[in-house]
């Protein structure tokens, strides 16, 4: 699918540059990717065009095999492509769980037929996937999974309830953990795929404290899942899930980076608090804590950069294990400081009397509380660090 066969990186870079110049619509240049809203996509003609061209080129999934529509690029070429896209102001129009988590996992463990069927639509951004792992009462603890899949010859009959289904109300397909053996815990779980339009699948959005509903409860009643949709061996779902979750973790600490739209704390404070005669923020107690948070963010960012470099150079990076806790901690502190700066304007909910930025600060703060809970809670991360990295013994008593 790619026109580049040679190893010559410079040549590839030139080609990528030329292709982008020709194919990336100038109207989309520079701005943030506008297509990632949680709801259904509504694209402008130029956005549609760009998505189409990237789909044809396979460069939304640059390192995936060309045989399934991917870019077929080497890691070095993919990095060069990203650099060229950054330079051009271009963005990757594809996103979501299919691209980030399921695709890489399927490429590792799925059958040829499954790959041929499911990878190309991911490459082209045509199918939205959701994840059916969590269940009510299970939380971080997937081993107590209760959704059952009964063997009915050519298909499984699935009954149970999933929760925290991210974007379930907009998803086309679901990758799901089901119990296929009740006698064993981890070793009785299988990994299946099903169409969300299958009869018996019902989703109900859950309203969160921030007022948004990014997750659903998903009820499964006599859902027929053809056996061809079992990924990997029967009762082998646990290992697949672990592999898939590794792709998830890296994403969440990225939340620690302020969105471009967010004003830095100090700028916000200059407006709400003002400067003293010496040019310092007029409230020195607040100023010291803003500086402390800026410094924490700076240290976090330097660590993320260091981990990236170390990982690329092939050395093991102990730093990666701390990114999630450090990033989410600092991000939550930042969100709380933002409210403190805003005073009463930091508890506005909606309507007149508040600026958009003020209302967004409140919602961001509330939504951010989830960052220490999902994707491996802060506590689970601490356990992992103390056991896997520091080699401390299993907890037994205290």
């Amino acid at each position: 699918m790619t026109d580049v066969a040679a190893d010559d990186l410079d040549a590839f870079r030139g080609e990528a540059c030329a292709w982008l110049a020709e194919n990336f619509p100038a109207s989309l240049r520079g701005g943030q990717d506008p297509t990632r809203a949680p709801g259904p996509q509504v694209l402008t003609p130029d956005q549609t065009l760009w998505k189409q061209r990237m789909a044809d080129k396979g460069w939304a999934t640059p390192t995936w095999p060309a045989a399934y529509g991917g870019g077929g690029l080497s890691a070095a070429q993919a990095r060069a492509l990203q650099q060229e896209m950054d330079r051009t102001g271009a963005y990757n129009p594809m996103y979501g769980m299919g691209l980030m988590m399921l695709g890489p996992t399927l490429l590792e463990v799925a059958s040829e037929a499954q790959k041929a069927r499911h990878i190309p639509p991911i490459v082209r951004g045509e199918v939205r996937w959701c994840q059916g792992f969590s269940e009510p009462g299970a939380g971080s603890d997937l081993a107590s999974l209760a959704t059952r899949a009964e063997d009915r010859g050519d298909h499984f009959l699935v009954n149970g309830q999933k929760t925290w289904t991210s974007g379930g109300q907009y998803a086309d397909w679901c990758f799901c953990l089901v119990r296929t053996d009740t006698a064993r815990k981890h070793a009785g779980i299988s990994f299946v795929l099903f169409d969300m339009k299958t009869p018996g699948v019902e989703v109900r959005p859950m309203k969160l404290i921030s007022g948004a509903s990014p997750f659903c409860e998903t009820f499964l009643t006599d859902v027929v899942v053809p056996k061809e949709n079992l990924v990997g061996p029967l009762n082998g779902g646990w290992d697949i899930a672990k592999r898939l979750l590794q792709h998830e973790r890296t994403g969440i600490s990225g939340n620690a980076k302020p969105a471009a739209a967010d004003v830095p704390l100090a700028e916000l404070a200059k407006r709400y608090v003002g400067l003293d005669a010496a040019g310092r923020l007029a409230e020195p107690d607040l100023r010291a804590r803003i500086a402390a948070n800026d410094m924490a963010a700076h240290a976090f960012q330097l660590t993320a950069e260091r981990v990236l470099k170390e990982t690329k150079s092939g050395s093991p990076s102990a730093g990666s294990s701390i990114l999630k806790n450090a990033g989410t901690r600092m991000g939550q502190e930042r969100d709380e400081l933002r409210l403190e700066i805003l005073g009463m304007a930091g508890i506005g909910w909606e309507g007149e009397g508040f600026e958009d930025g003020e209302l967004r600060a409140v919602r961001t703060w509330l939504a951010g509380k989830a960052t220490t809970i999902y994707g491996g809670s802060q506590e689970v991360q601490s356990n992992i660090i103390s056991k896997r990295i520091l080699g401390l013994p299993e907890s037994t008593q205290g």
Binding site: S140, M206, L208, M344, I347, G348, W349, I373, E379
Partner: protein, 378 residues
């Protein structure tokens, strides 16, 4: 828990029974979901007034019971536990205290009885920006014939949407930031030239911006000595801060107890999560902070009752400590409940939002750290 008189113990038990049985968090949730414009349930407020709660700080000859601040603190703590929204703090504590401390006999006779009966909802209109700064008064009171005309705006006035009486700090001399030249005025809610804009807050309490476009007042509307209103206001604010700290203590206590209960029932990885030592120590930390907060709140209320000169220092201590502790506990409530605590259907989010709103009201931790240091002379 402070040593209570028999009267106080009865009052506390009554309040606890009413709040937990007749006005649990579910009642607050219903009020919120109904979109009640006032930010409280008028029926519940009538019940509270009928039990005499609005008159606890009002002298007997003006229809109150004069039970004092420690008693009022018990009511606020118990209703705070269930997040009960009502004008108790704004009207029966903040405004009633200001009138009692600074009002003329005529002013007291006019307003206190209906405040005690819960018929008049009164409030303080203090701040003009989003951050608490009672000395930053720009709202002008201009001399006009035998009286004054007010021009300017007050922001985030508690119960501002429904208040029948507003006690407004206005500038009769000097510039914003000067503590001299501030005068307090009693402004009826239906005064010509007064308009309001309701605010929708995360904790769903009633608040409004209030605009004064030449509101005309007679000399009899002046509360206390003209130009010397800041001292009176500061004293009244301390009473409101102490009351709010009591409410926050109650809310934090119930949030904590709900969390400990959850630790005792929720199973993960085949264990009660309350058996995880890291969570146990964090729970122990919260318990410690709650006990420390209780001491500061009760000491502040007692100091106000005793007329102690330490009351301002203690009020700042209690408000800061309560803010810190309520934030800690409500954050941990969400974190320890995990995903379920993130849902709107669970109460954790309600406590979380109330914590930050109460923190911002009448000065947050940094405001009171600064004030504490100033009062201590450094």
């Amino acid at each position: 828990m402070a040593i209570l008189t028999e009267e106080q113990a009865m009052l506390r038990d009554m309040a606890k029974g009413w709040a937990q049985e007749k006005n649990p968090v579910a009642a607050f949730r219903r009020m919120r979901d109904s979109g009640a414009p006032l930010g409280y349930d008028p029926v519940a407020w009538r019940e509270m007034a009928q039990m005499g709660w609005a008159g606890v700080l009002i002298p007997e000859d003006h229809g109150g019971s004069d039970f004092g601040y420690l008693s009022m603190g018990l009511l606020l703590e118990e209703t705070g536990r269930t997040l009960t929204a009502s004008p108790l703090l704004a009207s029966a504590v903040a405004a009633a205290s200001t009138l009692r401390l600074g009002g003329s006999d005529a002013q007291k006779a006019k307003w206190l009885p209906t405040i005690a009966a819960g018929e008049t909802v009164a409030t303080l209109a203090v701040d003009e920006g989003p951050r608490h700064a009672p000395g930053q008064v720009a709202l002008r009171a201009e001399r006009a014939g035998d009286g004054y005309r007010l021009f300017g705006a007050k922001r985030f006035v508690l119960e501002g949407e429904g208040a029948d009486l507003l006690i407004v700090s206005a500038r009769t001399a000097g510039d914003p930031g000067d503590l001299e030249g501030i005068t307090l005025f009693l402004v009826p809610g239906d005064a010509a030239g007064l308009t309001r804009a309701r605010l929708s807050l995360a904790d769903c309490r009633g608040a409004a911006d209030v605009f004064f476009d030449g509101v005309a007042l007679g000399d009899d509307a002046v509360l206390g000595t003209p130009g010397e209103g800041f001292a009176l206001l500061d004293k009244a604010l301390d009473r409101a801060r102490a009351g709010l700290a009591a409410e926050m203590l109650g809310a934090a206590s119930q949030a904590f107890e709900a969390t400990v209960d959850y630790l005792k029932t929720r199973v993960q990885f085949g264990q009660l999560i309350g058996s995880f030592q890291a969570l146990q120590h964090r729970a122990g930390r919260m318990f410690m902070e709650l006990e420390l907060t209780r001491s500061t709140v009760e000491a502040t209320l007692a100091a106000i009752d005793a007329g102690s000169p330490d009351a301002p220092l203690l009020a700042s201590l209690a408000k800061a400590k309560a803010g810190e502790t309520f934030n800690l506990v409500s954050n941990e409530m969400v974190q320890m409940h995990g995903g379920i605590g993130m849902t709107d259907a669970h109460d954790a989010g309600l406590y979380l939002k109330r914590a930050r709103a109460a923190e911002a009201t009448f000065g947050g931790q940094a405001f009171h750290r600064d004030r504490y240091a100033r009062l201590k002379g450094y």
